[in-house]
Symmetry: C2
């Protein structure tokens, strides 16, 4: 694990690291924000951010303004890339499949199954890696945007006890029912709809073993709202089982990082309550 | 003047506009952040941000996190581009001359003098344009980073009474004495050192007609500190005439937007005190 960037930020330090990932079989970059308490040697909880389609580890760390609030709440922020990358890694010309579009699952279908094991990477390899290199308390939360909101919700629901808190911005809540998810799931998981349901937050809510409260923000001027996101499906699924969900429709906000930056402080404060 | 982007942000709206500039003879883009009070129809003061080498109107609006504080203080933020651009505009392959490197002055030398009139654009055309299209109080401040810090300091010193407040991050305080400025001034202004001094903050301080307080933040881990920035020259010039200067050397900070974002709130609060 090699540090390739570091910048003082809000009394802490924004770093970018590169390491050889055993899950993915390629070199991966990740953003790590260390709050002032971490620089002073104190153990801190870890909050994982999962980015959306086309993003690298850079988008969140340069545009979300999250460091201010991670410093305030003394939380380490880890922002991984959205897929394996590189010459030997399967890809597709479309922005919503292949590199930059890993969908936070382990692909079972060729050619994707060779490297696309983002669930193993995020849920298992990364926490172990972070714990080896930084002083952490053991408590961790997860959040993300769009495809990364899907990742945060499904990883939290699929791994009860792994995360103490979860939230999402504009998540793809029902990938099995919308074009982005259907295209990716068909490629990565094949035609078996049972396999799709195991990575679909709305489907997972029906059998959730744990009642982890969900905080979801969604802009009502988001161009993808009706076609790809459909948060009302998550509301209906939560209502059906009594799963705690705070779904906030934010008037006028779109799908951009301007939206994320406007509410990132409230999300980090939400996580901090569970991670203390 | 045509709006080409708009995003809800911190209860206000981040917009990008394009207009035909009469000073520059080309189409120019600029970021305009309207705080909640502006959207509610109230007149607001205007704070101009001048960006550094290579930047467009996008860098500041996507990376500085300034909207949070502009919303808090109800200030309109205007972030113009750093030079005229386009096929008919003189350019140089280097990053520090030509397009993206206008240095906020009116060039007198061919081929630059045709379009490079950034002082006219920022000091005269832009305030009139903003006043025509938005509801403003008439009070205005100016700040910027690196080449834009030079722009903010020199425009404020060259136009007494035009700005009620000024501040800078990592400014080029003495362009006539450092490589970036010497290269640009030789190209834009020719060999006349008197002409250079008229656009050099350290030189201008000696004869400043107005005692506008200067706030300057500088990271002490900035790679350009010794070679291009040399804030001690500004301190010496301020000391010599008793010009009010608050120069803060920020330990560990570099030249990046991570530095700007960490202190942008304090700068906007500083301006807000003078713009109320």
């Amino acid at each position: 694990m090699e540090r390739i960037e570091q910048h003082a930020s809000w009394g802490g330090r924004q770093e970018v690291w590169q390491h050889a990932s055993s899950s993915l079989g390629v070199a991966m970059k990740l953003g790590v924000y260390l709050p002032p308490a971490a620089l002073a040697g104190q153990a801190c909880p870890v909050l994982y951010w999962l980015s959306g389609l086309t993003c690298t580890e850079q988008n969140f760390i340069t545009k979300a303004g999250a460091q201010q609030f991670a410093a305030e709440h003394q939380v380490i922020l880890v922002a991984p890339d959205t897929s394996p990358r590189g010459e030997g890694v399967a890809n597709d010309e479309a922005y919503d499949l292949g590199q930059g579009a890993g969908f936070y699952l382990n692909a079972t279908q060729a050619p994707w199954s060779t490297h696309y094991r983002m669930e193993d990477y995020i849920a298992h390899e990364l926490p172990a890696l972070i714990a080896r290199h930084f002083s952490v308390t053991g408590k961790q939360g997860i959040f993300g945007h769009s495809m990364g909101g899907h990742g945060a919700l499904t990883l939290a629901l699929r791994h009860p006890g792994l995360y103490q808190s979860v939230s999402a911005f504009s998540p793809i809540v029902a990938p099995a029912q919308v074009p982005w998810g259907q295209k990716a799931f068909a490629a990565y998981l094949g035609d078996d709809r049972q396999a799709w349901a195991a990575h679909d937050a709305v489907a997972l809510l029906a059998t959730a073993a744990e009642r982890l409260p969900l905080l979801v923000d969604q802009g009502d001027a988001d161009d993808f709202l009706a076609s790809q996101l459909q948060p009302q499906l998550l509301q209906a699924a939560a209502d059906a089982t009594g799963h705690p969900l705070q779904l906030r429709l934010q008037p006028g906000y779109d799908h951009s990082y301007y939206f994320i930056a406007s509410f990132i402080g409230e999300h980090i404060a939400h996580h901090a309550r569970y991670l203390k």
